[in-house]
Symmetry: C2
Subunit: 338 residues, 2 copies
């Protein structure tokens, strides 16, 4: 049985769920892939805990309470440079300006021939081309499901379900929080402020909601999908971007009267050799397939040359689903390295 | 560059499209997978043509006009026993009673360590367990997308997009022809006879429409999905089956008055260790996601433990899409044997 030693960087809500699911699925990996999968380290930028035979649940608990044990404390990047492991699962905060610590973690891991599974978006948005070149050069995988709508398949859909077909157009509702806010205004008559406050109470909106509501989240996902699945070389600034924060109740009333449904839609369109990316507020007719995508639900629709159209709706937006998407990527690594 | 020699058995509408797409995608395989892919033989039960360096388009044309050239005529099974090739793509007629010639082709190929990509359903329905055991024993792939709703991902969805998640329930509109007939009665007021005749004129219904309309097609697909993706051991007779051929215009009028939408739905439900399979006429409320799946469009919906629900709608029903699904499977073989 092959040993697979995993490291999680970032240990917030998603990282903790990854750790939990890894324990739950230990027997599955053993049976299906003949793989002895162990979580050997979890780390933040200034602390971590490590056990080469697999960190115990007690140690994880202590670490998650910021009560880390003496000699098991270390800094992330030194750990990654000095240790052996097979896969890095990066779940830390996203820095869309510089890529942050995640970018250096991922580069370090790939250069050391470790597979990388990204949940955080920043590093991928900032420097996908260097990361993917490192993965290619060192013969390892760079997987991005957790960073591209998680439980809703996007890169998978293009690279696997439609392998061989030419996808000429893709559009989607990629940001559950924005969709929730629009729905709360349309369906329940909330003001923008109330809708945002409710989303924050539910834990689906950040204290600063602009990342989701001004289209940055959707634009980030489009950038990663464009680079990973369309082999484009797009930066975040190449994405035409529009937000929804200035929508008024008067606009909502007018759209309702006209039976139009506002949705924040991200799209990628091939025009010859160019890939056009945009995040726009669209006013959809009520029979558009996205019009009935409600709450935090996401959706994606693609048009292809030989396989017609595909619409996918769903993919839960919560830490368990995000962790589950990262571990789907891990199983793809197991499937493709047998 | 690795040579990949392919054989197509059955050379009807789908087999011809597979041959055409293989030629179109030759350069793609070279660039993406460093693979020199050649179609070295096409065959029917009593004739075939073969060129170890790749059959020319002229030879294919002659063969497809049943005007096969002298010494390139041979029988399928003898050819498969005596030749070298890497992948068999089986596109012949489906025999749900015995598996027909396709079953012996597929067993012969798998036992000789060749990958098999099935488009026809019969052999899979009759003896999936032997076929998959042969594939496992000889370390090759048995792929079934073309036989399980083709361009609509089903087995893919379970094994790849949801890898690691537990799927507790799956339901789908898996038979485009049945959906078309129901729609023609509901939307356009056709009688069953007229709706069937129109489907036949469009080339989407067989001269004997019972396979599609009495639920056999859906039941066959469910049987294969259950065995391939749920690791069940279901036979066709384990699927509870209902058809739509006895629906009257009076029933249609009543359902319309009640805003109900009739759909032929196939489902798989886990109940403890048991997998329950059924094909049923369901009367759906108009806001059910399947209610708006019209024409020959197909759909599938799954419920999972950690990734929420996913609904997929689309997947064209024509020979190009079926061929494209088979070649998607071929790319998965290329991806997983690198």
């Amino acid at each position: 049985m092959k040993r697979w030693d995993l490291v999680i960087s970032g240990f917030g809500t998603v990282g903790k769920q990854v750790a939990r699911l890894l324990t739950e699925r230990k027997e599955r990996y053993r049976q299906r892939y003949d793989a002895d999968v162990r979580l050997v380290a979890v780390m933040r930028s200034k602390a971590g805990c490590y056990d080469p035979e697999g960190v115990s649940s007690e140690l994880l608990q202590a670490f998650s309470e910021e009560n880390c044990m003496g000699d098991m404390t270390f800094t992330g990047i030194d750990f990654l440079k000095g240790s052996t492991y097979d896969v890095l699962i990066e779940t830390g905060p996203s820095d869309l300006e510089t890529g942050g610590a995640a970018l250096s973690y991922m580069k370090t891991a790939l250069a050391a021939k470790r597979h990388v599974i990204a949940v955080s978006k920043g590093a991928l948005v900032v420097d996908y081309s260097t990361l993917s070149a490192l993965a290619r050069e060192h013969g390892v995988f760079l997987k991005v499901s957790g960073a591209t709508a998680a439980a809703l398949p996007t890169v998978d859909l293009l690279q696997y379900n439609l392998a061989g077909s030419d996808v000429t157009y893709m559009e989607g509702i990629f940001t559950g929080t924005a969709n929730y806010v629009l729905g709360a205004m349309m369906e329940e008559g909330n003001t923008m402020e109330t809708a945002i406050a409710r989303a924050q109470q539910m834990g689906i909106a950040e204290p600063d909601p602009r990342f989701d509501l001004e289209g940055w989240d959707t634009a980030s996902k489009l950038t990663i999908i464009a680079n990973a699945a369309f082999e484009a070389k797009l930066g975040l600034s190449d994405v035409k971007r529009e937000g929804i924060m200035t929508i008024t109740q008067e606009q909502i009333a007018k759209w309702k009267a006209e039976s139009l449904v506002p949705k924040l839609v991200g799209s990628l369109r091939k025009e010859g050799e160019v890939l056009k990316a945009a995040v726009e507020l669209r006013l959809l007719e009520s029979d558009h397939p996205f019009a009935r995508v409600l709450g935090t639900t996401k959706a994606v629709r693609v048009e292809t040359d030989t396989m017609g159209e595909l619409l996918v709706v769903g993919g839960k937006s919560d830490p368990v689903a995000a962790a589950s998407a990262a571990l789907k990527d891990f199983e793809h690594v197991l499937q493709q390295t047998r």
